[in-house]
């Protein structure tokens, strides 16, 4: 069942928290993964794979570079959920 963008944001925040230890509150739509949250490329890939599993979507390697902000990831997941 498709989730709301708010639910996806909350789920993504948990994944980010698990990988980086960042507070879930700091994971907000307008935040940049690299510039604001200081997430490097390998942590980003871990987040992507965990998000695929959690939300039942496929996020191709080529797509990952387009996910600059948390909001970019939320809308990609939202659009691609079955």
């Amino acid at each position: 069942m498709a989730q709301s963008e708010q639910e996806i944001l909350e789920g993504l925040a948990e994944i980010v928290n698990e990988e980086t230890g960042l507070d879930t509150e700091s994971v907000q739509s307008e935040k940049s993964f690299t510039d604001d949250l200081d997430i490097d490329s390998l942590s980003m890939m871990t987040i992507v794979v965990n998000a695929e599993e959690k939300f039942g979507v496929r996020i191709p390697d080529d797509e990952v570079k387009n996910l600059k902000t948390v909001g970019d990831a939320v809308s990609f997941i939202s659009k691609n959920q079955a």
Binding site: S41, T46, D61
Partner: protein, 339 residues
Amino acid sequence: MTTPSPKGTGSITAPEGAAFSRIMGVGGYRPERVVMNAELVEAIDSSDEWIQERSGIKSRRFAAKDESVVDMSVAASLEALRAAGLEPSAIDAVIVATVTHPYQTPAAAPIVADRLGIQAAAFDISAACAGYCHGISLASDMVRGGSARHVLVIGVEKLSDFTDLTDRGSAFIFGDGAGAAVVGPSDTPAIGPTVWGSEGAQWKTISQRDSWVDVREKDLGWPAIGMAGQSVFRWAVWGMAPVAQKALDAAGVRAEDLDAFIPHQANMRIIDAMIKQLKLPTDIAVARDIAETANTSAASIPLATERMLREGEAPHGGLALQIGFGAGLVYAAQVIVLP
């Protein structure tokens, strides 16, 4: 004209091999020059801390300008032979796994054999960072199939010749070195079934940037090895953990039976993530030679093995799971008894 029929007067004698195979000894060679991160950071506008965070690498060894893949192979081989208690004359075949021998032809292996004073069968294999595990698989089958009694398997790279020191994605990753193992007959199974395969559709993920022909015809610069780090990371962790598990299952060994886990030393982050995926018990020694040796491709597993045995981190006679994965993309994994 009538179709010829076979004479039927001769019959072939089947080769006779050993019941089982084992690794009898390993040896390593690390070039003298230690290159700290500090020496590389300026060209990639980076820092020691940045490199360590992303790779766990503190330093690597670079071979001397006139030190070749063959030179390093010979040094590691002599150590492996000594550990196995064998003279070079006992070797029936030499397999060199490398992607940095700078001659398209001939292979490095015959020259290594000659330098060891032998005229054994000798050939190179190109399976990048998985080359050593491919070599162990071939050697084991050769010993059991009867085409050789003792096989010398060498993983060797002089990656400093093929590294673009201005490429932020790879400049700090690679190192030079050689590791070797002698595979011979055994009374009990000591090299488990190899789980291996390829994903050639992803061949551009790790590759020499341009073909030799393009380099000549389009007047391109030296074709260093490049890689898409994020894609490699995903494939290595989530693609290779199930392969490692299959190698355990094929050997009939449980993770908790292992004494050591010796994955290809690609990146400390990959090693840590693999352990997590495999749910490896914490008492199992894990190879982390990458910190001081960096990624030496085909040499990384035998070098890490040699270090673990020498430093007493893993026991002689213990069970180790080894897995190589890299350019191709190709992979190979097997459980072995440590010599």
